[in-house]
């Protein structure tokens, strides 16, 4: 899919629609929101063009910071939930966000956290592959990634700050980010088969490291899954080792314990030779 547009542009649309609704004093039950964050009256006309009649309401910075992230969530109810909270905040409950146990605040906080996590996991799990032209010059790095929420635009600046001297692209179904060492450009999402990113020679070395650092005596598959859910595995070059490492672990531990039981007790003296 493409054409849904990048997230923060829809956040901008929602903000201006929400302002227009507040200016007309429209209560949340009177409004329907479309996927892009545009408002219309239930069974009625779109609401727009109220830029001149700016709302006099001020909103806590905390609300806007939360809304910017909730806007990236895939839940289609996000716009109406945000507007409902905005309505309460501007109608006598300015402190509503401080009551984390309020059911609406609780739900939005969970969405906020899910988006933050999706952005964090994108920073963690994007895997660049080196692509060079036929002379091996002009190295470029390309990654295909499938984020849990629409966090590409939100997270792209992180990659700029980190990989400033590299040319890179991150391709996703929601949108693509590209850095040419000077500027960041964003474009619509593409499908997996169109991304067509191959293997990178370093991946074997990376798998060697991954297998080496695993301690079979501490096998804990649930803890791994909690932090690295299976939805991410197909784009992680190391994930193909997981099943085998887990399966072999008990046998490796038994072998080590048996070896220890057979080992002779060495003679030990402090600071001296013991072999």
């Amino acid at each position: 899919m493409s054409g849904a547009g990048l997230v923060s542009s829809s956040m901008k649309i929602w903000r201006s629609s929400a302002r227009a609704c507040l200016a007309r004093d429209l209560n949340p039950q009177e409004i329907a929101w479309d996927a892009a964050g545009r408002a219309s009256l239930i069974f009625g006309a779109p609401i727009q063009g109220f830029a001149d009649k700016a709302s006099t309401h001020t909103v806590p910075g905390r609300f806007l910071a939360m809304a910017a992230l909730v806007a990236c969530h895939r839940d289609p109810d996000r716009w109406s939930l945000l507007y409902t909270l905005l309505w309460r905040v501007t109608h006598g409950e300015r402190h509503a966000l401080e009551i984390a146990s309020d059911p609406l605040v609780y739900r939005l906080t969970r969405m906020h956290r899910a988006v933050r996590r999706a952005s964090h996991k994108m920073k963690a799990f994007v895997r660049f592959k080196s692509v060079t032209d036929s002379d091996g010059a002009d190295e470029e790095f390309v990654a295909w990634f499938e984020p849990a929420h629409r966090v590409v635009e939100l997270t792209a600046p992180f990659f700029v700050d980190r990989f400033r001297s590299m040319r890179w692209s991150i391709l996703t179904p929601d949108g693509c980010a590209r850095w040419d060492r000077e500027s960041l450009s964003l474009s619509p999402g593409i499908e997996r088969h169109a991304a067509n990113v191959g293997e990178d020679n370093l991946e074997n070395l990376w798998r060697t490291y991954y297998a080496g650092i695993f301690n079979p005596a501490r096998l804990n598959r649930e803890a791994m899954l909690a932090e690295m859910p299976q939805q991410y595995w197909r784009n992680l070059p190391e994930a193909r080792l997981i099943r085998e490492l887990a399966r072999e672990a008990p046998r490796r531990v038994t072998t080590m314990i048996e070896q220890t039981l057979r080992a002779p007790e060495p003679l030990r003296t402090r600071g001296g030779s013991s072999s």
Binding site: T208, E227, M256
Partner: protein
């Protein structure tokens, strides 16, 4: 031997170090011609099937070692296969992995070759090359070699975000038995060098002021120092381990103490327990550690002279609460923060949320669920606008049995990643 073979040997050799954290660094971004950045929290780029985070390229420069520490896979008398990276190979691997976004940076340690100073010089050279030749701004964690010269430790601190020296065992008599070449006084001396370096750099920064036209003085180990203790290789009690931790946090100003359940190694020495690692005990020590650092508990509240080991069945906060029933139930709508932190099942973040929310609204039981309170543990110890517990007070028979049963269900229904979770 090619780089892949060396990597296999020298990552396997490094995996018994629990720390892989890339946290605590101050924000830093890549220069126009370099790569690398750090954020306060660090990033785990992968997880192995042991549930542990893979954040840094954690390797040894070499696993040749002149020491003979009984618990260590790389000890002189072990039959393990040996390898040695050149400094350039480590630099190249770090950059190659980093560019592909596999890692946050490098955690480099080493067996002791020739002597302490020579080994330390090799580690420093890798870090310096990354920072200066390659303009690498990612995370670097270096192991400090205990007997190395002060100038070398100080130089390491200029290039590294974090330095660590493992105390390994909490008492000298444990070291005498298992690590005859190691001395606690040497280890704490090296920690002192790092601590003083950090303090000095902070003073320099304060003196130069934020508006000073000259460049800021170089940061010195901005993410502080850490250490590790092995648990279960000797008869040291949890009280002894936690006393050592408290002194490391207090006197040496350490950022983190890691606990590593002694785990069987290939070709192990027979003076060690040949058994599965005591993972639950390790988990309890992490919980106690968090209680000391973030909940205001002292060591002598967590263990007692008659019970010097932490309870394995229940978490240390619940254990304390059962020993101090007279202080409960606590009213979540009125008790101060210090008291909220003492309620079992109420974590630091929940306390913060409770304090913000109760200014506007008298909390009821259903609120607490949404504030992430672990209800099965907490309910016997608190009261709300619509609830007070029936079984509490010094004579509450059956309380221990009922919370223990609930708690065990909790414990096994959720995976525990001991080193990172701190909500109790």
């Amino acid at each position: 031997m090619d780089v892949a073979q060396k990597l296999g040997i020298l990552s396997d050799a490094a995996k018994y170090d629990a720390s892989c954290a890339s946290s605590g660094a101050r924000g830093r971004k890549a220069s126009n011609t370099g790569i690398g950045s750090t954020e306060g929290t660090g990033i785990c780029h992968s997880y192995t099937p042991d549930g542990r985070c893979v954040s840094l390229l954690k390797i040894l420069l070499t696993n040749y070692c002149i020491y003979d520490c009984g618990y260590c896979i790389n000890r002189r008398s072990s039959g393990v296969q040996r390898a040695r990276f050149s400094a350039e190979e480590v630099v190249q691997l770090t950059l190659d992995f980093y560019r592909r976004n596999y890692i946050e940076g490098l955690f480099l340690s080493s067996g002791i070759i020739r002597d302490a100073d020579y080994t330390m010089e090799q580690l420093v050279r890798v870090a310096k090359t990354l920072r200066t030749t390659h303009e690498f701004s990612g995370y670097i964690h270096l192991k400090t070699i205990p007997n190395a010269a002060t100038e070398l430790i100080t130089e390491a601190g200029r290039w590294a975000d974090r330095l660590s020296i493992n105390v390994e065992l909490p008492r000298q008599k444990d070291l005498d038995r298992l690590a005859p070449e190691k001395e606690l006084v040497q280890i704490t001396r090296a920690m002192g060098v790092v601590r003083d370096g950090i303090a000095e750099a902070r003073e320099d920064r304060a003196r130069s002021g934020s508006r000073s036209p000259s460049p800021q003085p170089l940061a010195f180990t901005p993410a502080g120092q850490a250490t590790q203790m092995i648990v279960g290789a000797t008869d040291a009690t949890d009280a002894a381990i936690l006393q050592t931790s408290a002194s490391l946090y207090g006197v040496q100003k350490l950022k983190r103490v890691y606990y590593s359940a002694f785990s069987p190694i290939p070709d192990a020495s027979s003076i060690l327990p040949p058994s599965a690692p005591p993972l639950l005990r390790e988990h309890r020590l992490y919980q106690a550690d968090w209680l000391m650092r973030f909940y205001g508990f002292a060591v002598d509240e967590l263990t007692t002279p008659t019970t010097p080991d932490l309870d394995l069945d229940i978490d240390p906060k619940l254990s304390w609460a059962l020993r101090n029933r007279g202080r409960f139930p606590m009213d979540v709508n009125s008790v101060p923060k210090e008291d909220l932190l003492r309620i079992p099942g109420v974590g630091v973040r929940s306390v913060k949320r409770i304090i913000a929310a109760r200014r506007w609204h008298r909390l009821r039981l259903e609120d607490l669920t949404r504030l992430h309170v672990a209800m099965s543990r907490a309910m016997p110890f608190l009261s709300t606008a619509d609830y007070s517990p029936t079984r509490i007070g010094p004579d509450s028979a059956g309380l221990m049995e009922s919370v223990t049963r609930n708690h065990q269900l909790d414990l096994w229904s959720r995976p525990s990643v001991s080193a990172v979770t701190g909500e109790l």
